[in-house]
Symmetry: D2
């Protein structure tokens, strides 16, 4: 069955569940998104696109930006990055302070909020405008020039970021945050507020499936070994505290966001993105998770 036929079949099968779950509600801009939307796209390295539904409608990428932030910081810092953030699943809700205390201000991995704040701090140490440097980076990864962040969403995030502020101050108390808390939060909330659609996101993760080479420029963003390693991190830590279950059910490296998007890669084959705003309790898109599970079942393609 072709990817397009697979997507069509998934889209048809999931009609009854699209909209089931809860849209993220901590800021008005996310709470007002209609829950019954669904898009999915698969893009290969030649740029061929298969898609269904709302695949060209932009949404707030939220925590998916953590994947791009990590890649950009990793480009710049190399393996020294891992002295400030771990590589283990958190085993706890995604914004827990407990683990951070036990482990002396070193976040468990770059995909929990605390870890992404440290990664953003690294970006801020090397850029005048960390958020803009990340926007530039995702434009290059996707080959789409007009991607940007939604300022209103970013402002709302900042005004409700007490918990992230707490984590940032806490890590600062351990010496693991070098820039001012306010600056780091500003950059963090802005890159979470980047808006992209499924096709753009599927394109933007192709470099990871393509051994680190950006198919649209032909340039290596990272070396093949690093691409493999970031993929492993997506598998073990990419979908909040249900990463084990996600790996069990889906079997693809993936990164999700509370905007309802999930990116995934099939190494050597393609980039994938699904979007549906209604979330499971874990914070992952409900229909999106099911769609990816169907995708690997129908195509019999997973990393295992």
């Amino acid at each position: 069955m072709s990817y397009q036929a697979t997507l069509d079949r998934i889209y048809a099968a999931l009609q009854p569940v699209i909209g089931e779950g809860k849209v993220a509600s901590y800021i008005p801009e996310l709470a007002n998104v209609a829950p019954d939307q669904f898009g999915m796209a698969v893009v290969d390295f030649a740029g061929n696109v298969c898609s269904v539904g709302d695949a060209t409608k932009r949404f707030s990428i939220q925590s998916i930006s953590k994947l791009f932030a990590l890649t950009l910081a990793f480009q710049r810092e190399g393996d020294s990055l891992w002295t400030r953030v771990g590589r283990e699943p958190s085993g706890n809700p995604f914004n827990s302070l407990v683990q951070l205390e036990r482990e002396q201000g070193i976040p468990r991995n770059p995909f929990i909020n605390a870890g992404a704040l440290v990664v953003t701090d690294m970006l801020a140490s090397r850029s005048v405008n960390a958020a803009q440097s990340l926007v530039d980076f995702v434009r290059r990864l996707s080959g789409v020039a007009d991607i940007t962040y939604n300022t209103k969403v970013a402002q709302s995030e900042i005004s409700t970021s007490s918990r992230n502020a707490a984590m940032a101050h806490f890590m600062k108390s351990f010496g693991n945050l070098h820039n001012k808390v306010g600056e780091v939060l500003h950059a963090y909330c802005h890159h979470c507020a980047i808006e992209m659609n499924c096709v753009e996101l599927a394109r933007a993760v192709c470099f990871l499936a393509n051994h680190g080479v950006n198919p649209w420029t032909g340039q290596a963003e990272i070396d093949p070994s690093s691409a493999k390693r970031l993929s492993a991190l997506m598998l073990t830590c990419g979908t909040y505290d249900t990463a084990g279950d996600f790996a069990f059910r889906v079997g693809l490296p993936a990164k999700s966001g509370v905007g309802g998007g999930i990116v995934a890669i099939l190494p050597g084959q393609c980039g994938i993105c699904v979007w549906s705003p209604a979330l499971e309790e874990s914070g992952n898109s409900h229909a999106g998770s099911l769609a990816l599970e169907m995708f690997t079942s129908l195509t019999k393609q997973s990393i295992f």
Copy 2:
């Protein structure tokens, strides 16, 4: 044996251990205090003073201010205060975030840092200048007009308060902090920087031993039942995470600070203060704890 004879005997006996331990070192102003100082004072409700050593040398009262802040907030808020802070020993190091997370932003008691921040937030909601209102309060409690805070100490505390900032933001994320984090921290760091000597502090806690009545003004600061209740809280929570051991060894309601001071009360009898800057691992004055233990052994007076 008279109180003065008791103090003399304690002072003589403790000479070999005065200075043992570590002076608090997180800000220069505390780190530079000479460790081999010791003072102790007992004051009865007629104002009779017994004292030894450096009993009239002022020092930074630090967490002892939490007792005065609590009393002042309790005067204003009454029992509604307890909806925002608990009354149980913490069972954890004094600045732990773990418990705060488990208990949804409600600190265990008013004598851990998180609890004192909430209490300070209450004061800030009712005063233009919370720190000054607390200074006024301890002046009235002690009957000494020139008590004030050390601005340099307060500034140093603010500049090293990442962990307290983390806790404040964290509680704000649970809705348990109403004023701006910066304002609360400002007031908190200033009231911790109040400077008093042993005689002044022994005078200032007499109202608690005297059923709530300020002996110097004749006015009831709090009612007798409340005085009993605050005393109970001092016993179970007043000396960081070694309160159980302190109650076991000493048997008096007490509150300690990392400046090396400890206030205690003998209900119906007197207020007590001991000061010696070198601390045990728990954060309590080493010689001060031993002095209070000797005091109850020699006088055979404790609450038990």
Copy 3:
């Protein structure tokens, strides 16, 4: 107001709340106790008894036995006892394994289950029949010769003791249990199953209020300093994880059991026991806690 008048007033005032709460239900023998019972007794050192309600009806003393077990072990072991069990409030539900793990098999205090198992292990190392030696001890403390344990209750306790077995094996893994787990559990479940009434229990704790001297024999069970210290431990740790609140509200050293009994002491004055089987969520008798709170309010006598 005399103690008898005080008890009469308490008994009248509490009529509406007697029976409110939940009777302990983990074994049939406790679940079948009628919840609407209430008794209270005050005994002075001359043996004068004031009492109301069901003060001479025996009930299962349960965790109150931990106080007697501790005293007996302390008589035998002295201060070396404290190398195997701490003196700090637990700050956690009474049968938590978390803390035990963090603190390497040393229970926080002798009044949580883990601590009482270690204390029982000490008794078992020095007695052929630890449970019987404890029965003999409470007979001597109360001056009542026919006190014994309920074998049926003990058997039921053993058959539902998976959690205590877990804790015992866990402490054994840290080397802090010397006898066989089965033997320790057997002794523990039997001394929890001792049955006494309010008058007998009030008599049995008089030695603690009387500086360690057993008023019925004139002999010192422990020295005055130790009596003070055990009383301090009751105050900070005697009523499960609400000890702080209990000290705040009542202000007396006390020890409670899930059979609905609470013993308390007024140092220098008397022993007290109240019993009412319906419990608060914390595991303390609901009407019993209120009765003790009224007692200190009406008599204006507490340790503070």
Copy 4:
């Protein structure tokens, strides 16, 4: 480069580090194993074997048996198995009780001790002799008839199993253990004491790499989807609390044991086993982890 050439190169390169680390020491039988041993084997589905070093010397498979126990239980119970054990990384040391308490007796995954005890309990509910049924199973998976357990090792394990006993009793208190604790521990300690060599273990995991089909019998042990799912579980949970790091560095589904063995699979290609008794702090073989990391680097084959 052929697999044999790869193994030769690995063996040569690792000579300096073989023996670095600590041999498991909690039972004499493991403590006495010489640390400077190393073997590695790769077996394809036609039965072709490449190997180096001590690849045919048997060792104690220890926690690797958890993989076989899980597969056998999964054959029998199907997806209902997951109601009693989770699928998430533990994020904590491998024998922690904390998580078990927080999650009401449901272990995080089948590869931590608590989870393997529950799995063994399932086996015990369906077999008169659970340990023997597991021995029979690994004989069939490997096609080697004389595999068995070392009785002396099993006895030593039983005599030092206080912590496992604690966990078993604890889960029983939550209703998540159906057989007697002693019986479950007996079976558990015996299947941990199974002895196999690298070639036998590489053969025994081939079915997982071969879509669930046992290459030596041609029979499906589990369906392809289940093979994929168990592989995912190995990746996220198979190497104690460093599974994230292991996935990052190696990128293969794997299961390790404190005997120094690690099995891994390359889906669609082969089964792999490496053995070297000296361990990292995490409990994984030090040289073994490095060998697998080199294997995926040199062959450029991993699941990512």
